[in-house]
């Protein structure tokens, strides 16, 4: 029984959700593992109206940009309600925003009123205030913190608005009626992986189209666990989507995720690949630590599930089909798969019930689906979760497309792809150099499926543009087509497969093009390697910067206090070298020029906000500039080494 609210803009969505779902909980805030505070749709909307009135009273006009600096908490979403209901747009950013970014964003977006979450953030912004002549009002979100001079408390603004509404103030209703579909609801500054922050303008129509087109069967019985940063568009769209079907969003955190999964028993979740990697590691650790009999049972169950699912995927055509399967091959293989499916079925049924269900209970037991986005999900992790019966739907998108471009749905679960484009979305694959259209192209076999190129798209989710940067907007969106800068192919079952960033491509001095991401992903499967990044642009060979896993080396009996110690231990180098040789070899399907000739161990782990984006993508230029000397040293051997 699916039901989604279909509204014209977010303000109307909030109003309709309140009317329809009324007393159902919209958001739940964690106070202790078993004590959460629910806020109903109706309460949230009423508070939103009050806050919006308070904001109008502070002089916020329709279509103003309001700063919203902070992480996931109830007051964040309340502020968003207030902003949307008074017809303004918010400019969100997390607690980890740097001073330079604050200065740049507040000035560039012309922010006059800003919400800040914590006292620390309040102090920082007050220190910068001299340099921010345009900033008129600062509102503190944290209800337990004391505002400094010149800073208002969220509750005070809200109460003031509430009084006005009691007296009959109905300015908010006028504002709601005045919201146009192409008004901004948010202006998101992305530092992304390169360059200075860009303001992505997303409109109400963008978000509303996403709510309408995301595949999924949900209703107001659903519980959605939230762990990703709310100011990131991926988490934002999931929360808006949840509001549209009346589900409840439970604010969890990375630290409490395991526990919260048990207690909340989420039915739906959005997550980044790193989270699944962690969970995968944890499950395998638990299996290893379990009773030998149970270990054997797990392996039998996993084996059977693989046989069963592989045959199922083959028979339903839901497998990664880069090339079409010739008819004779289908005729030969079909009886085999039918037989295998039938033989395995009863055993799979039993082991699935007795063994794999335990594992699923470990993540709450009620997950209908989870969406992974914000980066590529390593294929072995992808397979693992789908085999054990936790459907991971990998999606693909970017802030500029608010964000979903394509996503696997439950009935189109092709592992290894990011699924078919969502409705109303057109995809083109084009040559990144010449802009020649490769897919759909009638001159190429199968219309150009299986040909790699840059992904372009056209659809209602494409941003309005970059704020005050017509030049960049013109470069990114040409003739209505947004150029993603990602390399991809269309498969024969019309799913999109993403191969990496166009720009991440490393061109060796020999002229060979290398996609670093698949190689890096392969390397990171080694338990000794936490993170790595390939380097070698314009060099003779490919090198790797590697962050060793301290815990694993210690398990091996290597005495090191820190990652930095490891860089001085030759045994650690030996292990990493043999790991690289083991993983990246011609016999593993890597080309000769993709071999890693040399590497350096880095003395410090990559951190979110520094070397990693919030979705754990490497900021390549960041790493390159920081470890410039290491890279120089790595390639100093260029002349002397002969291969």
């Amino acid at each position: 029984m699916e039901y989604r609210i279909n509204a014209e803009n977010l303000a109307l969505l909030y109003r309709d959700a309140s009317e329809r779902f009324d007393a159902l909980p919209a958001f739940a805030i964690r106070k202790s593992p078993l004590d959460w505070k629910p806020v109903s749709y109706q309460e949230l909307y009423q508070q939103g109206l009050d806050l919006a009135t308070g904001l109008i009273e502070l002089g916020v006009r329709a279509r103003d940009h309001i700063g919203l600096f902070g992480d996931n908490r109830f007051e964040w979403i309340l502020s968003d309600y207030g902003v949307q209901l008074c017809g303004a747009a918010d400019v969100p950013r997390g607690r980890d925003v740097t001073d330079e970014e604050l200065l740049y964003i507040i000035d560039h977006a012309n922010i006059q009123v800003a919400f800040v979450e914590t006292p620390a953030l309040q102090d920082r912004i007050l220190r910068l205030r001299d340099q921010l002549p345009g900033l008129r009002e600062i509102i503190l979100l944290d209800p337990d913190a004391l505002p400094r001079k010149g800073v208002k408390k969220l509750q005070d603004v809200l109460h003031h608005g509430a009084r006005l509404r009691v007296e009959g103030d109905r300015r908010v209703e006028e504002r709601i009626a005045g919201v146009r579909p192409d008004d901004l609801f948010t202006l998101i500054y992305t530092s992304g992986t390169t360059g200075k922050p860009k303001g992505v303008m997303l409109t109400h129509a963008n978000m509303i189209s996403q709510i309408k087109n995301i595949p999924g069967i949900h209703n107001c019985n659903d519980r959605v666990l939230s762990v990703l940063p709310i100011w990131h568009i991926f988490e934002r769209v999931i929360e808006m989507y949840t509001v549209s079907f009346g589900g409840c969003t439970y604010y969890s955190s990375i630290q409490t995720l395991g526990e919260d999964m048990q207690n909340v028993e989420p039915t739906f979740m959005a997550s980044a690949p790193r989270l699944w990697e962690k969970l995968h590691e944890k499950i395998l650790r638990q299996v290893k630590a379990s009773h030998p009999v149970r270990q054997v049972l797990f392996h039998i169950a996993y084996f059977l599930s693989r046989q069963y699912r592989d045959s199922e995927y083959f028979l339903t055509g839901k497998f990664l089909k880069l090339r079409p399967v010739p008819l004779w091959k289908r005729i030969v293989l079909t009886p085999f798969h039918v037989a295998r499916w039938l033989i395995v079925l009863p055993w799979y049924g039993f082991f699935n019930a007795a063994v794999l269900e335990r594992l699923r209970i470990g993540v709450g037991g009620s997950l209908k689906a989870t969406i992974s986005g914000g980066g590529a999900l390593p294929i072995h992790i992808d397979r693992f979760f789908n085999y054990v019966g936790i459907p991971v739907l990998e999606g693909y998108g970017m802030t500029e497309t608010s964000p979903v471009i394509s996503v696997r749905s439950m009935d189109n679960l092709v592992v290894g792809t990011v699924g078919p484009p969502i409705p109303e979305t057109e995809i083109r694959i084009a040559d990144p150099e010449t802009s020649e259209i490769l897919y759909p192209n009638d001159k190429l076999p199968d219309q150009g499926r299986a040909v790699r190129g840059e992904v372009w798209l056209r659809g209602p989710q494409v941003m309005k543009g970059y704020y005050r940067d017509a030049e960049l907007t013109g470069k990114t969106i040409r003739d209505g087509w947004l150029r993603t800068g990602d390399l991809g192919v269309m498969t024969h079952n019309d799913c999109l497969k993403i191969l990496g960033r166009c720009k991440a491509t490393i061109v060796l001095s020999s002229g060979e093009n290398i996609e670093p991401e698949p190689i890096e992903m392969r390397l990171q499967q080694s338990r000794f390697i936490d993170h790595c990044m390939l380097v070698g642009q314009d060099r003779k060979f490919l090198g790797a910067l590697i962050i060793p896993s301290l815990a694993e080396f210690r398990n091996e009996g290597i005495d090191a206090e820190s990652v930095e110690d490891l860089t001085r231990i030759s045994e650690a180098h030996r292990i990493v070298r043999s790991e690289i040789h083991r993983m990246i070899s011609v016999s593993n399907g890597f080309k000769r020029y993709e071999q890693i000739r040399d590497f350096r161990l880095l003395p410090d782990t990559f951190q979110v906000g520094r070397e990693l984006t919030n979705l754990y993508k490497i900021k390549r230029h960041e790493v390159e500039s920081k470890f410039n000397h290491v890279i120089g040293d790595l390639f100093s051997s260029e002349k002397s080494r002969k291969f």
């Binding site: 779902f21 909980p25 078993l34 629910p38 909340v264 007795a354 269900e357």
Partner: protein
């Protein structure tokens, strides 16, 4: 029909005994003393389950045997199966059919204990007509004695079987890790042994499958299915809500098969023993298949009310026991609106 050869050799019997031991141990390992106390907390559900298990099932068995014109030894075996308490597998099937596992466990626990009393009584009542037939056949074959239901032996074997159950419970208390393993192993062992018995029966007495009258297959298959059907509608008529309805239905149809083997091996002799065992093997095989199918059906059918139920349980878990979930008008069908389990209910036992 005649069973001139013994169905099971000595080593098969040992294997079967081992299986019974392992399964009963597993059953015990899944129980705690809390489960016994829980019976008292759910008197209505357990009572309806009791009526359904010991009232409906033996009568269904008797009716099927009579209507289908069963040979007497098979008839007694079928009635014996009808009088058995619920099996532990019903808990697993109930879990996957999105029924109340807590109620299923309570019913299994209660019926296993009550079986000591109910089984001999019911067996005597329903099997009376068929024992006469067997006696007549035996006399015709030159035997001197009459065939009687060995009531004392049955009670003894039931008590004997409860020993590993008690051991399992102790295991659970001492080492929950081992208890979990024992629980898992039990289900697996049961499937393996039943398949082994089927296979050996097929190899050694291939014609046995052909010599068995068709009605016996129908009866062995039908008793479980009829049990599911009657259990479902009987509890529905008494106004039981879907979650519990599914549990009662499965509990009614799924009997403790291994217990049947134990009782037959320990209490009955040839010429009836082999035939009775054969029927027990057939029932045990069919019930796995039918319960799987019925479970898949219930799982689909029960998805909505289960989601509503879980959501309210979790709301009460996280927002406090006083919290009441208010769904929008028209979201819940009228039957669920009245269901007390959709409002404030104690959270459900999962494992």
């Amino acid at each position: 029909m005649e069973f001139d050869t013994q169905l099971l050799y000595a080593h098969d019997q040992i294997l079967l005994a081992l299986m019974i031991f392992v399964i009963m141990l597993g059953m015990g390992a899944s129980l705690t003393t809390d489960d016994f106390k829980a019976v008292g907390r759910r008197p209505r559900g357990v009572l309806i389950g009791f009526l359904s298990q010991f009232g409906l099932m033996p009568f269904i068995a008797f009716s099927l045997a009579t209507l289908l014109g069963f040979p007497p030894a098979f008839a007694i075996a079928l009635i014996l199966i009808g009088c058995l308490p619920g099996g532990t597998t019903s808990n697993m099937f109930t879990y996957f059919s999105r029924g109340s596992v807590a109620l299923s466990i309570s019913m299994t626990t209660a019926s296993t204990l009550l079986a000591l009393l109910m089984m001999p009584v019911l067996l005597k009542l329903y099997a009376a007509g068929f024992t006469g037939q067997i006696s007549a056949e035996m006399r015709a074959a030159g035997a001197e004695t009459d065939f009687v239901i060995p009531t004392g032996n049955i009670i003894n074997s039931l008590i004997l079987v409860l020993v590993p159950v008690a051991m399992g419970m102790i295991l659970r208390k001492k080492s929950p890790g081992w208890a979990k393993t024992a629980e898992d192993t039990a289900g697996f062992v049961a499937i393996i042994v039943i398949l082994y018995l089927l296979l050996t029966a097929f190899i050694r007495h291939g014609d046995l499958f052909l010599r068995t009258p068709g009605v016996v297959y129908i009866g062995a298959l039908g008793i479980g299915l009829t049990g599911f059907l009657f259990g479902y509608w009987f509890s529905r008529l008494l106004g039981v809500f879907p979650l519990f309805q599914r549990a009662i239905s499965l509990e009614t149809g799924i009997q403790n098969g291994p217990l049947a083997f134990a009782v037959i091996l320990l209490s009955f002799q040839e010429p009836v023993q082999s035939q009775m065992l054969w029927l027990a093997i057939l029932y045990s095989t069919f019930i796995v298949l039918t319960s799987s199918v019925v479970t898949l059906y219930y799982r689909k059918k029960g998805k909505f009310d289960w989601d509503v139920y879980r959501n309210t349980v979790i709301h009460n878990r996280l927002f406090g026991p006083e919290y009441v979930t208010h769904y929008p008008d028209g979201f819940l069908p009228p039957r669920l609106v009245k269901d007390p389990s959709q409002g404030n209910s104690p959270s459900q036992k999962r494992n």
